[in-house]
Assembly symmetry: C2
Homo-oligomer: 254 residues x 2
Amino acid sequence: MEQTLYRRVAEDIKAAIASGTYEAGARLPSESELAQRYGASRGTIRQAFAALRADGVISSRQGARRVVLGGPRVQSFAELLSFSRWARAIGEVPAGRVVTMELRAATEEERVHLELGEGARVYHLTRLRLLSGRPVMIERSAYREPVGAMVAGMELDTVSITERLQALGVIFADAEHLIDAVAATTQDARLLDIRPRTPLLRERRRTTDPSGVALEWSDDRYIGDAVAFSVHNSAQASALSRLPSIPRPTPAEA
Amino acid sequence: MEQTLYRRVAEDIKAAIASGTYEAGARLPSESELAQRYGASRGTIRQAFAALRADGVISSRQGARRVVLGGPRVQSFAELLSFSRWARAIGEVPAGRVVTMELRAATEEERVHLELGEGARVYHLTRLRLLSGRPVMIERSAYREPVGAMVAGMELDTVSITERLQALGVIFADAEHLIDAVAATTQDARLLDIRPRTPLLRERRRTTDPSGVALEWSDDRYIGDAVAFSVHNSAQASALSRLPSIPRPTPAEA
DNA sequence: CAGTGGTCTAGACCACTCC
DNA sequence: GAGTGGTCTAGACCACTGC
């Protein structure tokens, strides 16, 4: 067994959906049938289905067979965090051009989101990201010191930071994304080669390690008509919220 | 037992987090301790934790106690779908002003997302939504015929459609959200009382019933600096994707 | 090394769907 | 009414964390 049984079952079902064996709307095999087929208990099969449910691939209701949902193919967590990995996955060539890289005092905003004390320092990187030569995004990332030091040593024009960090043993476990729309500033416009005040899709992201420590706080701005985000949710799993901007501080940030 | 045991456990933990008993970063009780406290088996407690994990409230790793994550308070699925419910939850007064309501042939886009055949008709509603008197969003929703007929009979200026539909027995089970940034059209600008080309946060949403049938396809545009979306994801549950716009059709839509 | 979560089993009863 | 998923139990072994 290369990994766990329930993961293998989940992968098999995902693959069968991807290959067209089960189309959107199709009914999947029952728990008992799969349990028999894999020589597994019902609980293990249920665990596989739960994983697919959490990723928004299938729906589930008492008494009826599970059903394949429509919607975009799922993206792995790793693929979502790494611009480079994502670009390659959609058949484009990723690139990065460093604008600034510095070790400096954290701003108020950075201290809040990275949970740092007064006077803490962060590594801050501004990078222009390109898809097959076309500028599509500006990335402004602040890294907590130990991680930032690793980043500072990399060849940032060619390298995927996330992939390199993972190779160095840094584990990204959870991410919180704040998505809104802003007008391009003059710097944004100059770097992206667009007119000022053009709509940008902004994704601010806090990435944490397995113990909940924030490692990275990033402000990524995409050209509005280049990229969209897709989110799936349901009554069972709804990790999506709508917030008033200039929000009242949340308990966690207060 | 008002509902299920694992839900009660999950609610208790959520409440304890909300009340400040456990702050962000705090370690939660072990499975065995909770199992004893509730007179439940370990499996039931694990189910409760799994629900919190799916909502992005806690993190989990082998060998260590579960940890409370930071980030915005979770929003229930119902609260997320209903503008009115959401507005009341953040202490504002929701309102709606109908711009148009018609039964007409579905557009190409609507046929694709509602999975309708050639020549199908939809109920289409355009509504301006206000938060305590301030216009913040334009909603353009298409409903599949049986549901649309119910909507057509409502007093749309005062009523929350989602709440009324749920009272009538319509069940929204899953939703797929496509989020991007667009410039305000002249109609957008006129209705929202802003300048044309102002950045808007656009949420296109397909909502399905428990069997996977699409009931509603909506294009909601928020004033950029009024609203943001928050999404949590992780290696375990990642129902979030980044898509190139003008996307290649997905298998489900092809 | 003790504690803890991750995986898995084998069975039970119930609520619901579908024909 | 047969089939199916939802809930729950009791126990087992293992991998990992943290002291």
